[in-house]
């Protein structure tokens, strides 16, 4: 099951050239770009690990692209996303975020049912990937 999230979640994965163009746009807006990775695909897993420091004062997409390549080299089987942070007063938040790398096989989610008081059923989802310990989930 293909996980989608972020700005271009409705599109197929962006190619490197498209990523580069998005980075150019972000840098043109004066946003700081950072990379994050995880191997827990649960939708409520909001806080991913940082890959290196956020990149300030960059002028050209080439700098970010080298970092993206480095992240892919280190974590080929993880989800990696690219965030652009806007420090403008009033925003001070992520303005754009999209996935730049995903595992080859994404096993999807199991639906869990819990019987609660009075025949109530509570539903929950659990990624199959998290059956295995962190770091070895997609290899």
């Amino acid at each position: 099951m293909r996980i989608t999230q972020g700005t271009f979640s409705f599109l197929p994965d962006l190619t490197d050239d498209q990523i580069r163009a998005q980075i150019e746009y972000c840098l043109g807006q004066g946003w700081a770009i950072s990379l994050e990775y995880t191997d827990d695909p649960h939708p409520r897993n909001t806080y991913w690990e940082m890959f290196g420091m956020p990149m300030f004062d960059l002028r050209d997409a080439a700098g970010v692209m080298t970092e993206v390549q480095a992240a892919r080299g280190t974590f080929p089987d993880h989800y990696i996303k690219l965030n652009a942070f806007d420090s403008t007063h009033g925003f001070e938040t992520i303005r754009l975020s999209f996935i730049v790398n995903r595992p080859l096989h994404e096993p999807g989610f199991a639906l869990g049912r819990e019987e609660a008081a009075g025949r109530t059923i509570r539903y929950t989802i659990r990624p199959y990937a998290t059956d295995r310990p962190e770091g070895g989930r997609y290899s």
Binding site: L58, R59, D60, A62, G63
Partner: protein
């Protein structure tokens, strides 16, 4: 920008068998001629440097035309080394170089990131690589100017982290040639020793440009240019005094060419302000506020009898 050819060339390019290429149009298109003209106008002297830059610009323009008709010699190596004494205009020229490369399409953003050893080399193990990489990332798409580059290599300490910075730098200089242009700058003799110790660095630098010291009359023109920009002028006496000042100052130690001249002018402005302040009561005109008199310059320590012992930059 890199793949862009002017419309004229593309129109005739593939159709005719031997289409005449319009060098003039390409030149006008890149607006580089105008940039070289301002370089000529704004920078006094430095004839060998200007010639070299003109040559490099010509090479790059021709290379671009060649690419337009499908001839390729691979992307040219653009890394440079600027050697010369302090105050000979290395940083200024590097800034212009960034602009020229940008106009010719060899540098996507055309900005200059000026760094020294402190910005590249870390304080402890594992600190250097991220620091150097961050600087490199900032400089991508533009020009990285490393001032006093020889400090990166300290032969007396074999565990010095500078070597690590050099290795990372070399890797990027080789692999990301179209993303980044590196300019190394420093004193001539020490740079030569640096290149001897780091042959890898030397072989990756295509253009070695040497900046000569300025002559006395060139220094005088520089002073005039600086004053004009600051909206001051010299009285005829002061001009004579400045001439003598330059002759004396050049003979002294720690002479930093144009930088010494700028410092001298700054101090002359200080003395002028004090002089005007001391004669309070007398009416002041626009002319008075603009003029630097001989006494403002002759008060300098350079004119002391004991000048031979003076070592400061006064």
């Amino acid at each position: 920008m890199t793949s862009q050819t002017d419309p004229g060339t593309t129109a005739v390019g593939p159709a005719a068998s031997a289409p005449p290429l319009d060098l003039e149009a390409a030149l006008a298109d890149s607006q580089v001629e105008e940039l070289l003209a301002t370089l000529d106008r704004d920078l006094v002297g430095l004839v060998p440097v200007k010639t070299r830059i003109r040559e490099i610009a010509a090479l790059l323009l021709i290379e671009k035309l060649r690419m337009g008709v499908g001839l390729s010699a691979g992307p040219p190596s653009l890394h440079m080394s600027f050697t010369g004494n302090p105050g000979t205009g290395k940083t200024t020229v590097a800034m212009r170089m960034a602009e020229i490369l940008h106009r010719l399409g060899y540098s996507r953003k055309g900005h200059l990131v000026a760094v020294t050893r402190d910005d590249l080399v870390g304080q402890f193990i594992g600190h250097t690589a991220p620091k150097t990489k961050e600087v490199l990332k900032r400089a991508m798409g533009g020009v990285l100017f490393i001032d006093e580059a020889y400090y990166l290599y300290r032969p007396e300490n074999e565990r010095d982290y500078g070597q690590e910075a050099i290795e990372i730098l070399l890797q990027v200089m080789e692999n990301q040639r179209d993303d980044l242009v590196v300019i190394l700058a420093g004193y001539k003799d020490r740079m030569e020793r640096f290149f001897q110790m780091n042959p890898g660095m030397s072989s990756r630098i295509a253009h070695h440009v040497d900046f000569p010291d300025y002559e006395a009359d060139e220094l005088f023109s520089i002073a005039e240019l600086m004053l004009e920009r600051m909206q001051y002028r010299l009285s005829p006496d002061a001009a004579r005094a400045l001439g003598e000042y330059i002759d004396r100052r050049r003979m002294q130690r720690n002479f930093a060419n144009a930088r010494s001249i700028r410092n001298a002018l700054d101090r002359a402005r200080l003395r002028q302000a004090n002089r005007l302040f001391d004669r309070r009561g007398a009416p002041l005109g626009r002319e008075d506020l603009m003029t630097i008199e001989a006494e403002d310059i002759r008060a300098s320590r350079v004119f002391d009898r004991s000048e031979t012992t003076v070592e400061g930059s006064q």
